[in-house]
């Protein structure tokens, strides 16, 4: 070793310099950063998306899915779908791309800019000024440290800088108008519909067609395995219903929790807001104040007009439509100056101008609910339920383990467990491994336990399965039918009917297409055309997108023009276009206004998408598909 060093001193020196130089200029960081995590889900340029970061984003997305379903349960397959994972990782990659691009473009946000931003967030203010305590509380509530929070915030701000200008396209008035005109162009259309029922009589099925279909599609005629079970349910809810609570217990609880039943004062107010942001230029604030003062003067003369004036003038869109009404609220719900004003007014009184960060308010107090305490009578049932649940929770905790043991140790019957825990044995009708099942049997874990050899062939109890909500269920199979295929004779008629209909649909389409070809050629065919109506390209509710596309795609320079489309119910619709009505060009048409905005939105979206695509080309992106699929 030393000989090598001595004999190759020059090489060694070069190597040493190569190692120390980076240290001198870039620090230890340049070495540590290259140490790879191994199970990263993706790489974007030189940044990585770790498995942890990915899972967090995935959970957030699943949460969003759940809340978008409005409380209805989301099927597990949807939450586990590979498409969802792909969407999440691609979203993360986009974020990393933008942030990487911002770094490469040397975009930055200084301490001072960060401070400016924080100072402008209303949620962090107290009495109209940035409050350090409030800031710390908000950050702590998100389980973050201040430096981590600020680093993330800074990244978000640079991200916004980088993308902001891309997402603000300049749309030529002419470009937008051209699309609006296209969407509002109307065509006068009549239709003629061919129905498959008309062609059923022409259908001739081969004698063994049904049998062939049966033989080649056996899977469709499978009947799943079925079982009938008896089962026991041990649940905290049921225990609660049985629990008894004494009158003394209730009143003792009431006395010791009296503060829960005291309600603070609530007030109801209406207001008129004239917006004047804190950061608005002085001239704008002045203008707002003048306007608000004029309104106030008018109200002093005509207090009864408050609701009408609020509807016309208030710039608080949420309440303006309700005549300014804000409904009941307590102290702490509104910004400080507003609250102070409301709680110092008398009922029916109108305030002077109140200045808040939002602007100038004129407030009318419309109601006072004084602070009060609910009497025991009003809350007795609520307390009883609470106490019963406490008893039930304790009992359930005591019984749960014993229940599991009993059904396991005496596996050839549910009776011992039923006797011991005073439960009733329930019986089910036939259930299958998949599909609907009544009550607790709908639980997939329980169903999986029922359809095992242990339960079916060995006739043993299933173990006690926790189906959530502090409920355990044990079941036992009493009757079983293995999977089977329905006999041909039983399904023959249905198959024949289906095949005949399929054939009729084909004939319908063929006839429709033939007629369309002849009409387009100019042949005179007399058809019982329906009533003419005008259809705009943007569509109408009762016309399927396919039909709309057919009507508008056809070359209509020579009229009448003809189009046709297959209908989802198997029919075929022919359309005759007899007139084209170009858009009248009236810009005040509300549809035109809506479409113009839509055009700008679509254009902005397209430009952002294109921009992101160029970033994907510029920086190498690599997805680790194995790590992506991992749980």
């Amino acid at each position: 070793m030393f000989d090598f060093v001595r004999n190759n001193r020059r090489i060694v020196q070069v190597v040493l310099v190569a190692i120390t130089l980076p240290f001198a200029f870039w620090g230890v960081d340049s070495y540590v950063r290259n140490a790879s995590g191994g199970d990263d889900v993706a790489r974007v340029g030189d940044s990585r998306i770790s498995h942890q970061e990915f899972l967090q984003a995935l959970q957030a997305q699943q949460e969003r899915l759940r809340s978008s379903m409005g409380g209805r349960p989301v099927p597990q397959e949807m939450l586990d779908a590979p498409e969802l994972r792909e969407a999440v990782i691609n979203g993360l990659i986009d974020q990393h791309l933008i942030s990487l691009h911002a770094t490469k473009s040397k975009l930055s946000v200084t301490e001072q800019q960060l401070a400016q931003f924080l100072a402008s967030v209303p949620a962090l203010q107290q009495d109209g000024k940035f409050s350090r305590e409030r800031y710390e509380a908000v950050v702590a509530a998100q389980n973050m440290s201040i430096p981590a929070f600020e680093a993330q915030l800074r990244q978000n701000l640079t991200l916004q800088q980088s993308m902001g200008v891309v997402a603000l396209p300049i749309v030529a008035t002419d470009s937008a108008r051209r699309w609006v005109a296209a969407e509002l162009e109307e065509r006068e259309v009549t239709d003629f519909v061919l129905h498959p029922e008309q062609f059923l009589a022409q259908v001739k099925l081969g004698t063994d067609a049904a049998k062939t279909f049966y033989d080649t599609n056996r899977k469709q005629f499978e009947l799943p395995q079925m079982a009938r079970v008896e089962y026991l349910v041990l649940s905290r809810a049921a225990l609660g219903e049985q629990a008894k609570v004494s009158e003394e217990d209730i009143s003792a609880w009431y006395k010791s929790h009296i503060d829960q039943y005291a309600a603070p004062e609530e007030r109801r107010a209406s207001h008129i807001l004239i917006q004047a942001d804190k950061s608005a230029p002085e001239a704008a604030v002045k203008a707002a104040q003048t306007k608000a003062e004029a309104l106030l003067a008018e109200l002093k003369k005509n207090p009864k007009e408050f609701a009408a004036l609020a509807r016309q003038n208030s710039q608080d869109p949420g309440s303006a439509t309700h005549g300014g009404d804000l409904d009941w609220f307590r102290r702490g719900a509104m910004v400080k100056p507003f609250e102070d004003a409301v709680f110092s007014l008398k009922e029916g009184e109108i305030s002077n101008l109140v200045r808040s960060d939002f602007g100038f308010h004129i407030i009318l107090l419309t109601g006072i609910k004084p602070a009060h305490t609910q009497p025991l009578e009003a809350v007795r049932d609520q307390i009883a339920a609470e106490l019963r649940d406490q008893v039930a929770a304790k009992k359930y905790a005591e019984m749960a383990e014993g229940f599991g043991n009993t059904v396991y140790e005496q596996a050839d019957s549910l009776q011992p467990a039923a006797d011991k825990f005073k439960l009733k044995i329930e019986r089910s009708d036939w259930i299958a491994p998949q599909g609907a099942a009544p009550g607790p049997l709908a639980n997939p874990k329980l169903r999986a336990a029922i359809f095992t050899d242990d339960a079916i062939k060995e006739h043993r109890n299933t173990s006690a399965i926790d189906i959530g909500n502090d409920t355990q269920v044990a079941a036992r199979v009493v009757d079983y039918k293995p999977a089977a295929i329905r006999p041909f004779d039983e399904v023959k008629a249905a198959i024949e009917q289906k095949l005949a209909r399929d054939e009729a649909v084909k004939l319908t389409r063929k006839a429709g297409e033939e007629q369309l070809a002849r009409l387009s050629k100019g042949d005179a065919i007399s058809l019982a055309w329906g009533k003419a109506r005008n259809v705009p390209r943007m569509g109408v509710r009762d016309l399927a997108p396919d039909a709309l596309r057919a009507i508008f795609r056809v070359d209509a320079r020579k009229l009448p023009a003809y189009a046709g489309t297959a209908l989802p119910d198997g029919g075929y619709a022919l359309y005759r276009i007899s007139l084209i009505k170009p858009w009248d060009g009236k810009e005040d048409d509300p549809r035109a206004k809506m479409l113009r905005q839509q055009y700008e939105r679509v254009t902005a979206g397209e430009e952002v998408a294109a921009w992101l695509a160029t970033l994907r080309q510029r920086y190498p992106v690599e997805i680790n598909t194995k790590a992506l699929a991992e749980k």
Binding site: R9, L21, F25, E86, A87, N90, G91, I93, D94, S105, K106, L107, S108, V109, T110, Q113, Q116, Q161, G164, V165, V166, L168, P169, I170, V171, A172, T173, D174, S175, R178, W179, A181, A182, E183, E185, S279, A280, P281, R537, F552, R553, V554, D555, R557, Y599, V602, T603, G605, E606, E607, V608, A609, A610, W611, L612, A613, T614, L615, R616, Q617
Partner: protein, 223 residues
């Protein structure tokens, strides 16, 4: 010298002659490398410093844009272009200000700023966006030839559909229906040729496809 044996003495002598011959060159190279590295670091520092200052100006510009203060936005964009032309902020400022000017009905100023971004931005994507927006402003000013000229030169693939659509709009505006139709067809073909969409932006491309389809159909024969 007694501390070294013969072989070592020989090696030392060899080393000395080598150093005598090459020493200067080695020192020079080391010096140049060190200077180059220092220069590189200094250059980076200078760039970062410029960017930091430009960022502060840009933030002011964002505020002016939010308040629709066209005059102030124009001044700040001008400051970015004059003082920090090599930063990304200069082109971003020009684009942002141009939008504010357009909204305020001042196409002339928007043109100048977009032209600057199209010519000088260091970011090719921003150059493409600037050309596209310049063409839009020129189209509304009815300067059809100039608008088409702004779109000359191949953009990045992803921007090609928007470029073709804009060309179609320009041709249609001056009554050249056949050319417009060809442009819209080409826009659709280029959009369909792009790789399948990924990321959160994926959902927007279908509506855009339909926009192009409608514009094409409105030119007469659809497909």
């Amino acid at each position: 010298m007694a501390a070294y044996d013969l072989e070592e003495q020989e090696q030392l002598a060899e080393l000395k002659t080598w150093w005598h011959q090459h020493g200067n060159r080695v020192t020079n190279i080391a010096l140049i490398v060190a200077l180059a590295l220092a220069g590189w670091q200094g250059w980076n520092w200078w760039q970062r410093n410029q960017a930091t200052q430009a960022s502060a100006v840009y933030m002011g510009l964002e505020k002016a844009a939010a308040g629709k203060d066209a005059l102030h936005a124009r001044e700040l964009a001008g400051e970015l272009i004059d003082k920090y032309p090599r930063t990304a902020y200069a082109a971003m400022g020009a684009l942002l200000s141009a939008r504010v000017q357009t909204d305020a009905g001042d196409g002339k100023n928007a043109q100048a700023q977009l032209q600057w971004a199209a010519d000088h931005s260091t970011d090719p994507a921003l150059r493409d966006l600037a050309r596209l927006r310049l063409a839009a402003v020129l189209l509304d000013a009815k300067s059809y030839d100039a608008a088409l000229k702004a779109l000359d030169g191949t953009p990045a693939d992803a921007f090609a559909p928007r470029f073709e659509e804009m060309k179609g709009d320009i041709e249609a505006a001056r009554g050249k229906v056949a050319e417009a139709r060809a442009d819209y067809e080409s826009a659709i073909a280029k959009l369909e040729k792009l790789p399948a969409d990924k990321g959160e932006s994926g959902a927007v491309r279908e509506p855009y496809h339909q926009v192009l389809q409608s514009k094409l159909e409105a030119m007469g024969a659809g497909k």
